[in-house]
Protein backbone atom coordinates (compact mmCIF):
# COMPACT_ATOMS: atom_id res chain seq x y z
CA UNK A 1 0.00 0.00 0.00
CA UNK A 2 1.15 3.54 -0.82
CA UNK A 3 2.47 5.73 1.94
CA UNK A 4 -0.11 7.84 3.65
CA UNK A 5 -3.08 5.94 2.31
CA UNK A 6 -5.79 5.62 4.90
CA UNK A 7 -8.55 3.02 4.83
CA UNK A 8 -12.02 3.98 6.01
CA UNK A 9 -14.29 1.06 6.67
CA UNK A 10 -17.84 1.55 5.35
CA UNK A 11 -19.47 -1.90 5.26
CA UNK A 12 -22.77 -0.74 3.90
CA UNK A 13 -25.10 -2.43 1.47
CA UNK A 14 -25.94 -0.23 -1.48
CA UNK A 15 -29.60 -1.18 -0.94
CA UNK A 16 -29.69 0.25 2.58
CA UNK A 17 -30.63 3.85 1.80
CA UNK A 18 -33.30 2.71 -0.61
CA UNK A 19 -34.83 0.53 2.08
CA UNK A 20 -35.06 3.51 4.43
CA UNK A 21 -36.59 5.68 1.73
CA UNK A 22 -39.06 2.94 0.89
CA UNK A 23 -40.15 2.57 4.51
CA UNK A 24 -40.66 6.32 4.80
CA UNK A 25 -42.74 6.42 1.61
CA UNK A 26 -44.83 3.45 2.76
CA UNK A 27 -45.56 5.14 6.10
CA UNK A 28 -46.58 8.34 4.34
CA UNK A 29 -48.91 6.49 1.96
CA UNK A 30 -50.40 4.60 4.90
CA UNK A 31 -51.17 7.92 6.64
CA UNK A 32 -52.81 9.21 3.48
CA UNK A 33 -54.78 6.00 3.01
CA UNK A 34 -53.29 5.34 -0.43
CA UNK A 35 -52.53 1.73 -1.34
CA UNK A 36 -49.58 1.36 -3.73
CA UNK A 37 -49.34 -1.92 -5.62
CA UNK A 38 -46.02 -2.72 -7.30
CA UNK A 39 -46.74 -4.97 -10.28
CA UNK A 40 -43.81 -6.80 -11.84
CA UNK A 41 -43.24 -9.44 -14.53
CA UNK A 42 -41.08 -10.42 -17.50
CA UNK A 43 -41.62 -8.29 -20.62
CA UNK A 44 -44.90 -9.19 -22.32
CA UNK A 45 -46.46 -11.32 -19.56
CA UNK A 46 -49.59 -9.20 -19.76
CA UNK A 47 -49.24 -6.45 -17.15
CA UNK A 48 -50.89 -3.75 -19.25
CA UNK A 49 -53.68 -6.03 -20.54
CA UNK A 50 -54.40 -7.22 -16.98
CA UNK A 51 -54.37 -3.68 -15.60
CA UNK A 52 -56.92 -2.52 -18.14
CA UNK A 53 -59.29 -5.39 -17.23
CA UNK A 54 -58.74 -4.90 -13.51
CA UNK A 55 -59.12 -1.12 -13.49
CA UNK A 56 -62.34 -1.30 -15.50
CA UNK A 57 -63.76 -3.72 -12.92
CA UNK A 58 -62.93 -1.64 -9.85
CA UNK A 59 -62.86 1.99 -10.98
CA UNK A 60 -66.43 2.63 -9.76
CA UNK A 61 -65.59 1.36 -6.28
CA UNK A 62 -62.17 2.87 -5.64
CA UNK A 63 -60.37 5.92 -6.98
CA UNK A 64 -57.39 4.63 -8.87
CA UNK A 65 -54.40 5.94 -10.84
CA UNK A 66 -51.75 4.03 -12.75
CA UNK A 67 -48.03 4.76 -13.08
CA UNK A 68 -46.22 3.16 -16.00
CA UNK A 69 -42.48 2.72 -15.64
CA UNK A 70 -40.75 2.21 -18.92
CA UNK A 71 -37.20 2.57 -20.00
CA UNK A 72 -38.10 4.89 -22.83
CA UNK A 73 -41.64 5.01 -24.23
CA UNK A 74 -45.15 6.03 -23.29
CA UNK A 75 -47.10 3.41 -25.23
CA UNK A 76 -48.49 1.74 -22.09
CA UNK A 77 -49.56 4.96 -20.36
CA UNK A 78 -51.48 6.05 -23.45
CA UNK A 79 -53.08 2.60 -23.78
CA UNK A 80 -54.27 2.62 -20.16
CA UNK A 81 -55.73 6.10 -20.43
CA UNK A 82 -57.58 5.28 -23.64
CA UNK A 83 -58.94 1.96 -22.41
CA UNK A 84 -59.96 2.99 -18.88
CA UNK A 85 -60.27 6.78 -18.73
CA UNK A 86 -58.36 6.91 -15.46
CA UNK A 87 -55.28 9.07 -14.88
CA UNK A 88 -52.09 7.35 -15.94
CA UNK A 89 -48.61 8.77 -15.87
CA UNK A 90 -45.45 7.66 -17.53
CA UNK A 91 -42.20 7.37 -15.59
CA UNK A 92 -39.04 7.17 -17.62
CA UNK A 93 -36.36 5.29 -15.77
CA UNK A 94 -33.61 6.88 -17.85
CA UNK A 95 -32.10 3.58 -18.88
CA UNK A 96 -32.37 1.98 -15.45
CA UNK A 97 -33.73 -1.54 -15.30
CA UNK A 98 -35.82 -0.97 -12.18
CA UNK A 99 -37.55 1.69 -10.12
CA UNK A 100 -36.36 2.58 -6.65
CA UNK A 101 -38.22 4.35 -3.85
CA UNK A 102 -36.91 7.78 -4.80
CA UNK A 103 -38.04 7.44 -8.42
CA UNK A 104 -41.41 6.15 -7.22
CA UNK A 105 -41.80 9.16 -4.94
CA UNK A 106 -40.96 11.50 -7.81
CA UNK A 107 -43.60 9.77 -9.92
CA UNK A 108 -46.17 10.08 -7.14
CA UNK A 109 -45.46 13.81 -6.95
CA UNK A 110 -47.12 14.04 -10.36
CA UNK A 111 -50.29 12.34 -9.16
CA UNK A 112 -52.86 14.15 -7.05
CA UNK A 113 -52.83 11.67 -4.16
CA UNK A 114 -55.59 13.39 -2.21
CA UNK A 115 -58.73 11.41 -2.67
CA UNK A 116 -57.01 8.41 -4.25
CA UNK A 117 -57.39 4.94 -2.77
CA UNK A 118 -55.13 3.02 -5.06
CA UNK A 119 -52.07 3.59 -7.24
CA UNK A 120 -50.85 0.71 -9.37
CA UNK A 121 -47.26 0.82 -10.53
CA UNK A 122 -46.39 -1.17 -13.64
CA UNK A 123 -42.69 -1.76 -13.03
CA UNK A 124 -40.07 -2.35 -15.74
CA UNK A 125 -40.48 -5.78 -17.38
CA UNK A 126 -37.69 -7.75 -15.71
CA UNK A 127 -37.62 -10.48 -13.05
CA UNK A 128 -34.23 -9.67 -11.57
CA UNK A 129 -33.53 -6.04 -10.78
CA UNK A 130 -36.96 -4.83 -9.62
CA UNK A 131 -36.91 -7.57 -6.97
CA UNK A 132 -33.89 -5.97 -5.32
CA UNK A 133 -35.35 -2.50 -4.93
CA UNK A 134 -38.21 -1.84 -2.56
CA UNK A 135 -40.41 0.85 -4.13
CA UNK A 136 -42.28 1.70 -0.94
CA UNK A 137 -45.36 -0.19 -2.12
CA UNK A 138 -47.90 -1.69 0.27
CA UNK A 139 -47.60 -4.96 -1.58
CA UNK A 140 -45.57 -6.57 -4.37
CA UNK A 141 -47.39 -8.59 -7.01
CA UNK A 142 -46.20 -10.32 -10.12
CA UNK A 143 -47.59 -11.86 -13.26
CA UNK A 144 -46.23 -15.11 -14.63
CA UNK A 145 -47.62 -16.10 -18.01
CA UNK A 146 -48.10 -19.70 -19.12
CA UNK A 147 -45.58 -19.60 -22.03
CA UNK A 148 -42.80 -18.69 -19.58
CA UNK A 149 -43.01 -22.10 -17.92
CA UNK A 150 -43.91 -23.37 -14.46
CA UNK A 151 -40.31 -23.49 -13.24
CA UNK A 152 -39.79 -19.70 -13.16
CA UNK A 153 -40.08 -19.63 -9.33
CA UNK A 154 -37.01 -21.87 -9.20
CA UNK A 155 -35.07 -19.65 -11.58
CA UNK A 156 -35.95 -16.31 -10.00
CA UNK A 157 -36.23 -17.13 -6.29
CA UNK A 158 -35.85 -13.56 -5.02
CA UNK A 159 -38.72 -12.21 -7.13
CA UNK A 160 -41.06 -14.96 -5.97
CA UNK A 161 -40.05 -14.61 -2.33
CA UNK A 162 -41.02 -10.92 -2.18
CA UNK A 163 -44.41 -11.21 -3.95
CA UNK A 164 -47.49 -12.02 -1.91
CA UNK A 165 -49.61 -12.26 -5.02
CA UNK A 166 -48.73 -14.25 -8.12
CA UNK A 167 -51.12 -13.97 -11.05
CA UNK A 168 -50.80 -16.73 -13.63
CA UNK A 169 -51.84 -15.18 -16.94
CA UNK A 170 -52.62 -16.50 -20.43
CA UNK A 171 -54.48 -19.54 -19.10
CA UNK A 172 -56.11 -19.79 -22.54
CA UNK A 173 -52.88 -21.09 -24.09
CA UNK A 174 -52.47 -23.93 -21.55
CA UNK A 175 -53.24 -26.60 -24.20
CA UNK A 176 -50.21 -25.57 -26.23
CA UNK A 177 -47.63 -25.62 -23.43
CA UNK A 178 -46.61 -28.24 -20.88
CA UNK A 179 -47.34 -25.84 -18.04
CA UNK A 180 -48.09 -27.70 -14.80
CA UNK A 181 -50.22 -25.41 -12.60
CA UNK A 182 -49.92 -27.61 -9.49
CA UNK A 183 -46.15 -27.81 -9.79
CA UNK A 184 -46.03 -24.07 -10.33
CA UNK A 185 -48.04 -23.43 -7.14
CA UNK A 186 -45.77 -25.81 -5.24
CA UNK A 187 -42.65 -23.94 -6.42
CA UNK A 188 -44.21 -20.55 -5.62
CA UNK A 189 -45.07 -21.66 -2.09
CA UNK A 190 -41.54 -22.95 -1.63
CA UNK A 191 -40.35 -19.39 -2.12
CA UNK A 192 -43.20 -17.75 -0.22
CA UNK A 193 -45.66 -19.90 1.74
CA UNK A 194 -48.02 -16.91 2.14
CA UNK A 195 -48.38 -16.14 -1.56
CA UNK A 196 -51.86 -16.03 -3.09
CA UNK A 197 -51.97 -17.55 -6.57
CA UNK A 198 -54.71 -16.46 -8.99
CA UNK A 199 -54.90 -17.95 -12.52
CA UNK A 200 -56.46 -15.58 -15.07
CA UNK A 201 -56.85 -14.94 -18.75
CA UNK A 202 -56.46 -11.23 -19.31
CA UNK A 203 -57.48 -11.64 -22.92
CA UNK A 204 -61.03 -12.79 -22.02
CA UNK A 205 -61.19 -11.41 -18.48
CA UNK A 206 -61.59 -14.81 -16.87
CA UNK A 207 -60.41 -14.84 -13.25
CA UNK A 208 -59.93 -11.08 -13.12
CA UNK A 209 -62.91 -10.75 -10.74
CA UNK A 210 -61.04 -12.84 -8.17
CA UNK A 211 -58.04 -10.58 -8.60
CA UNK A 212 -60.29 -7.55 -8.07
CA UNK A 213 -61.69 -9.08 -4.87
CA UNK A 214 -58.21 -9.72 -3.55
CA UNK A 215 -57.19 -6.12 -4.25
CA UNK A 216 -60.35 -4.51 -2.82
CA UNK A 217 -59.87 -6.52 0.35
CA UNK A 218 -56.22 -5.44 0.56
CA UNK A 219 -57.19 -1.78 0.20
CA UNK A 220 -59.83 -2.13 2.92
CA UNK A 221 -57.27 -3.60 5.33
CA UNK A 222 -54.69 -0.94 4.44
CA UNK A 223 -57.09 1.84 5.37
CA UNK A 224 -57.82 0.40 8.82
Amino acid sequence: MEDGVKVIEIKKSIFEDNEKEADALRAELKRKGVYLLNLMSSPGSGKTTTLIRLVNLIKDQVRVAVMEADIDSDVDAVKIKEATGIPSIQLHTGGMCHLDAEMTRQGLDNVALDGLDLVILENVGNLVCPAEFDTGSAQNAMILSVPEGHDKPLKYPLMFSICNLVVINKMDVMPYFDFDLDKCKEYIHMRNPKATVIPICAKTGEGVDELAQWLLNEIKNWKN
Binding site: G4, I8, I14, D17, M96, V128
Partner: protein, 114 residues
Protein backbone atom coordinates in the same frame (compact mmCIF):
# COMPACT_ATOMS: atom_id res chain seq x y z
CA UNK B 1 -27.60 -1.25 -17.67
CA UNK B 2 -28.04 -2.80 -14.26
CA UNK B 3 -24.40 -2.18 -13.38
CA UNK B 4 -24.60 1.49 -14.30
CA UNK B 5 -27.53 1.92 -11.93
CA UNK B 6 -25.53 0.21 -9.20
CA UNK B 7 -22.59 2.52 -9.89
CA UNK B 8 -24.80 5.54 -9.23
CA UNK B 9 -25.78 4.10 -5.85
CA UNK B 10 -22.12 3.47 -5.01
CA UNK B 11 -21.18 7.03 -5.97
CA UNK B 12 -23.99 8.43 -3.85
CA UNK B 13 -22.90 6.42 -0.80
CA UNK B 14 -19.19 7.12 -1.25
CA UNK B 15 -19.88 10.87 -1.56
CA UNK B 16 -21.86 10.72 1.66
CA UNK B 17 -19.08 8.87 3.48
CA UNK B 18 -16.42 11.24 2.13
CA UNK B 19 -18.38 14.20 3.40
CA UNK B 20 -18.79 12.63 6.84
CA UNK B 21 -15.06 12.01 7.09
CA UNK B 22 -13.98 15.31 5.55
CA UNK B 23 -12.22 13.53 2.67
CA UNK B 24 -11.35 15.49 -0.47
CA UNK B 25 -10.30 12.71 -2.78
CA UNK B 26 -10.94 8.97 -2.80
CA UNK B 27 -8.21 6.76 -4.29
CA UNK B 28 -10.02 3.44 -4.25
CA UNK B 29 -13.37 1.93 -3.39
CA UNK B 30 -13.45 -1.71 -2.34
CA UNK B 31 -16.72 -3.62 -2.87
CA UNK B 32 -17.92 -6.92 -1.46
CA UNK B 33 -19.81 -8.70 -4.24
CA UNK B 34 -21.62 -11.96 -3.58
CA UNK B 35 -21.02 -14.69 -6.13
CA UNK B 36 -24.71 -14.91 -7.02
CA UNK B 37 -25.57 -11.23 -6.77
CA UNK B 38 -26.82 -9.91 -10.09
CA UNK B 39 -23.70 -7.79 -10.49
CA UNK B 40 -21.02 -8.66 -13.04
CA UNK B 41 -17.73 -7.21 -11.69
CA UNK B 42 -16.23 -6.50 -15.14
CA UNK B 43 -19.26 -4.52 -16.23
CA UNK B 44 -19.32 -2.78 -12.89
CA UNK B 45 -15.72 -1.57 -13.19
CA UNK B 46 -16.34 -0.44 -16.79
CA UNK B 47 -19.38 1.59 -15.76
CA UNK B 48 -17.46 2.87 -12.79
CA UNK B 49 -14.62 4.24 -14.92
CA UNK B 50 -17.08 6.14 -17.06
CA UNK B 51 -19.13 7.61 -14.23
CA UNK B 52 -16.47 8.16 -11.56
CA UNK B 53 -14.25 10.32 -13.78
CA UNK B 54 -17.08 12.82 -14.03
CA UNK B 55 -16.77 13.51 -10.28
CA UNK B 56 -13.94 15.59 -8.79
CA UNK B 57 -13.99 13.47 -5.66
CA UNK B 58 -13.53 10.25 -7.64
CA UNK B 59 -11.39 11.19 -10.63
CA UNK B 60 -8.97 8.32 -11.27
CA UNK B 61 -10.44 6.41 -8.34
CA UNK B 62 -10.14 2.65 -8.70
CA UNK B 63 -13.00 0.25 -7.97
CA UNK B 64 -11.99 -3.16 -6.67
CA UNK B 65 -14.36 -6.10 -6.31
CA UNK B 66 -13.86 -8.60 -3.57
CA UNK B 67 -15.92 -11.73 -4.36
CA UNK B 68 -17.79 -13.48 -1.55
CA UNK B 69 -18.81 -17.15 -1.86
CA UNK B 70 -22.50 -18.12 -2.01
CA UNK B 71 -23.83 -20.69 0.44
CA UNK B 72 -27.27 -22.30 0.38
CA UNK B 73 -29.07 -23.91 3.32
CA UNK B 74 -31.34 -26.92 2.76
CA UNK B 75 -34.65 -26.65 4.61
CA UNK B 76 -35.19 -30.40 4.38
CA UNK B 77 -31.94 -31.73 5.91
CA UNK B 78 -30.49 -28.58 7.42
CA UNK B 79 -27.11 -28.89 5.72
CA UNK B 80 -25.25 -26.13 3.91
CA UNK B 81 -23.58 -26.38 0.51
CA UNK B 82 -21.84 -24.18 -2.11
CA UNK B 83 -24.54 -22.60 -4.30
CA UNK B 84 -22.60 -22.16 -7.53
CA UNK B 85 -21.64 -25.82 -7.70
CA UNK B 86 -25.00 -27.38 -6.84
CA UNK B 87 -27.62 -24.73 -7.61
CA UNK B 88 -31.04 -25.11 -6.01
CA UNK B 89 -30.91 -28.86 -5.41
CA UNK B 90 -29.40 -30.07 -2.15
CA UNK B 91 -26.47 -32.43 -2.93
CA UNK B 92 -27.06 -34.30 0.35
CA UNK B 93 -30.75 -35.15 0.19
CA UNK B 94 -31.94 -34.00 -3.26
CA UNK B 95 -34.53 -31.56 -1.89
CA UNK B 96 -35.33 -28.40 -3.84
CA UNK B 97 -36.60 -26.66 -0.73
CA UNK B 98 -33.46 -24.60 -0.23
CA UNK B 99 -32.68 -20.96 0.63
CA UNK B 100 -29.71 -18.79 -0.12
CA UNK B 101 -27.83 -18.04 3.11
CA UNK B 102 -25.32 -15.58 1.68
CA UNK B 103 -23.82 -14.64 -1.64
CA UNK B 104 -26.03 -11.85 -2.97
CA UNK B 105 -24.22 -9.02 -1.21
CA UNK B 106 -23.51 -5.78 -3.01
CA UNK B 107 -21.83 -3.66 -0.37
CA UNK B 108 -19.17 -1.03 -0.04
CA UNK B 109 -16.51 -2.57 2.16
CA UNK B 110 -14.12 0.37 2.50
CA UNK B 111 -12.64 3.37 0.80
CA UNK B 112 -8.97 4.31 0.54
CA UNK B 113 -8.07 7.96 0.87
CA UNK B 114 -4.88 9.93 1.05
Amino acid sequence: MHELGIVFYIIRDVKKAALEHGVEHVNAVVMNIGEVSTVVPDYLTDCWRWAADKEDLLRGCELRCNMLPAVTTCNACGKEYPTVEHGRTCPYCGSEDTVLKCGNEVEIKEIEVL
